[in-house]
Symmetry: C2
Subunit: 518 residues, 2 copies
């Protein structure tokens, strides 16, 4: 068993109260007015574990300058840079992530839909610049850029731009026997189609990718949305929902032009995404019995309601490669993950429902050390390297800034003797453990999907980032912005299943939860 | 006398309490701990007169879209656009600003330093795009861009960039018999100097401007900082202060490089400017006996601490052209204002002290209708036109959004029969009065420098804009950012006179107050 003596008294009490007493929490969950009050307390407590924005530093410089406080092409950072001299060789740390010969540990809690959604969602705002791994190309906002693109030129290429009835506001789509899809980015010969020249090619697309797979790649706003058939399926779901919302808006507001229908449908789509993020995804991650709500009102008076600026630490802690299994079940048959990378053939053939069915019925791996598929080993190595390029402080320093006591023994990080032994061999002293390695070395608590420090940092950003979206601010979040029909659609959206049900995403299970709901 | 029946009960009580009881307020002003508490209440009350950011709309579109909530090249706006049909001819409104044949009314309160500082200061963040008068090129921040430029290329051209002792962090300067000055932008023949090709030419510089005047123009970051010898003098003061601070920092931190000395000197300079803005300039505008403090702590928990975004209404209400006199006293002799436009010859000849002495001993005009110098009449016309281009709502609508009751009679706006008669002739009904005309039609209250609605809107932005500067935020505003010596310099700076005294700005009166301090 792990030595819990450095978990911190307050942290232990919070965990005890929030992870126990199921009937008490069920009572609260069932009473909306009471639940909103409790939600405010829990959300506020969660966000206040970290220093509020604006942070003093960015990755631009080791001191605050006017430029560093303004230029959001650099990541924010929680702690100042420290000298990386004396760190163990990169390869020794990367070896901590190497899959055990005995094979993977499987998640007790999550289906493949969980890492697929995490990947697709965070690819919308966690971008590292390819040219300089201390910089970012993010908008720092949840804006559904995966669907709409990050620049006006991309958005423009993806829009139908028609004032004709039944076409206003729509994104371009093609209807096949299996449903409605984004248009293809490449033609049958694998050549990029002229009208999508502004649209990004998929990142990390292997050179010489075969034309028959290339021709299944969708013209998506996000440069990583085609990474797997699962991320493409989620993107397709939000694309279909956009066009569905356009039809709703066109009917409700016949006087609106193409531009307004488009913009308001996008607004509704973004808020629906935020609802799913909090009410399905974050509740899946959380080990609490209390069901968190996507109510923005706790932010309206919160001291942590300050403009978003993605910290580099947040970018790194989201590298959940160990969750990704090597294979899945698709239509009852086993497939290799590699078979659905940069290849939307299976989903085009079998339909959107098949992809959600596959993701919901395949098991994710467990997050942690010694559990990353060999195909993702190079990505772990790059992540460790990015931590060093950004001169990140140690795991213990980050525990402290996030209100966990510093650990004094490796046994306080993990109860797994193999993890403890490996950490000791690589780092010698617990103060030497790097941020990235420490994050994943921690044991995953019962009924949680992620280890404690990751869970805490994800919660900080989930609430302070998602709920402070300008669309949820007091002068904007009302029927005047979204229309009555739009607000009804927002209210009616809590899970991916809600979206799938109304967009031909299948009527089977659509779930991130492996077993029964907690 | 003006009909005060629509001033509003709460407004009248606040005015009564804050503008009366001088001994009571003197008692509070003399007790710093008490004054800080009262300051928090007054600042918070002042800012809460207006809707807090983020506002629902920008000048981009009449509805909230993701683009309109993100794209800060458009102005924010307090009220939605309204149709401008039925507005009186532009020229009829412009005639309301025309100087009376009897001549100007002079301010009872302000020297020429007040409009000069207002002009220089607001030129740092109130920029209308020349190409589209609904858009802006501002950074939306108080950042001393007048001194440092708005782009890295301009900043770079103005910096010395030397690692030599005694030169680190410095801006380029030239020392003449009369003191230290920015380098000249043009050579003796009037040709722009190659090294400053990135530096903007002065805006509205008349074509064919004579070489002997052109050659006195300084290479300044701000495209309007050379407009008059007075704005150039204020810019020079902050330039000299920058280089003085660099010397202080270089001594305190010998290990710092050019870049860090530059950046930290700029940080200190920006905070010193904010202190002067609140403690000298806003206190000059305010009719209150309480001396407002530039304490940022009230913002740390305020619901109005949201990212700055300049509203178009704020841009327009700052067109204080009627304050600008046609002449001044310089070195005991009368000069015409035109003699110090785009011509720094007098200040180069007589020194910085002469400019501050002139500004502090010349009288400003009174703000209001029928009081704008003919040379500025075209600028008033353009301002009225900009209000229409942006489809602004009426004066009464803006009274309401700023928590003043709507007026029902022209006599409730002004007690001046000529103003009332002219408004009635141009607008027929009080509900028709435009925002821009109404702002300046109001009577200036006793001991105030501006009319009430302008005063209220200036206070909203002064506090919610200046005090939420990231340099004043909790993780940044401390000795770790500014150094001990830097913090001491900030503490020792409350007025332009403080800056002038340590930078050869003369030892005479440096004051925006005409007579004895209120």
């Amino acid at each position: 068993m792990r030595d819990t003596s450095r978990d911190g008294l307050r942290n232990r009490i919070e965990k005890y109260v929030l992870s126990g007493f199921e009937p008490f929490w069920a009572f609260i969950n069932a009473r909306p007015a009471l639940a909103r009050i409790v939600n405010r307390l829990i959300v506020d407590n969660a966000v206040q574990k970290a220093p509020a924005r604006p942070l003093a530093l960015s990755t631009m410089a080791p001191y605050s300058s006017w430029d560093s406080l303004m230029d959001r092409t650099w990541f924010a950072r929680y702690l100042p840079p420290v000298d990386q001299g004396g760190r163990p060789p990169l390869e020794a740390v990367a070896a901590l992530f190497k899959l055990r010969p005995a094979g993977p540990r499987l998640s007790e809690r999550s289906t493949l839909l969980f890492p697929s959604f995490a990947q697709w969602f965070t690819d919308g705002f966690l971008m590292t610049s390819e040219a300089d791994r201390r910089r970012t190309t993010t908008s720092h906002q949840i804006d559904l850029g995966q669907v709409y693109g990050q620049t006006p030129a991309v958005t423009d290429a993806l829009r139908l731009r028609s004032e004709a009835a039944g076409r206003k506001g729509r994104l371009k789509t093609e209807v096949t026997d299996s449903g409605e899809w984004a248009p293809r980015l490449y033609d049958a010969a694998g050549k990029k189609r002229e009208e999508f020249s502004a649209v990004p090619d998929p990142v990390h697309l292997p050179a010489g990718w075969p034309a028959e797979k290339l021709s299944t790649i969708f013209a998506f706003g996000g440069e990583r949305a085609n990474s797997t058939a699962y991320t493409a399926a989620i993107n397709t779901l939000f694309l279909r929902e956009h066009n569905r919302l356009c039809a709703v808006l066109e009917q409700a507001e016949p006087g609106w032009d193409d531009e307004r229908v488009f913009q308001v449908a996008r607004n509704i789509g973004i808020v629906q995404l935020i609802k799913i993020v909090v009410e399905e995804y974050i509740n899946h991650i959380s080990p609490y019995w209390f069901q968190l709500l996507s109510d923005p009102r706790p932010c309206y008076t919160a001291v942590w309601n300050r403009e978003n600026w993605i910290p580099v630490e947040f970018n790194l802690l989201y590298r959940w490669h160990s969750l990704v299994p090597e294979g899945a079940v698709w239509g009852g048959a086993a497939i290799a993950m590699a078979d659905v990378c940069f290849d939307n053939g299976p989903v085009l053939r079998d339909g959107l429902g098949a992809a959600f069915d596959s993701a919901s019925n395949s098991r994710a791996w467990q997050m942690g050390l010694f559990n990353t598929s060999p195909m993702l080993a190079p990505v772990e190595l790059a992540s460790i390297g990015q931590g060093r390029t950004n001169e990140l402080a140690s795991y213990n320093d980050y525990r402290e800034v996030m209100k966990y006591p510093r650990v004094t023994r490796f046994e306080q990080i993990s109860g797994d003797p193999a993890v403890v032994a490996a950490l000791r061999e690589v780092y010698r002293h617990v103060d030497n453990v790097e941020f990235f390695a420490g994050l994943f070395a921690e044991d995953v608590p019962e009924r949680s999907a992620v280890p404690p420090l990751i869970g805490r940092m994800v919660a900080v950003d989930a609430f302070s980032h998602a709920l402070t979206n300008p669309l949820l601010s007091p002068h904007v979040y009302h029927e005047g912005t979204f229309t009555k029909a739009g607000m009804a659609s927002i209210v009616g959206t809590r899970t991916l299943r809600d979206l799938a049900g109304r967009n031909g995403g299948g009527d089977g299970v659509v779930s991130m939860e492996l077993a029964r709901p907690k």
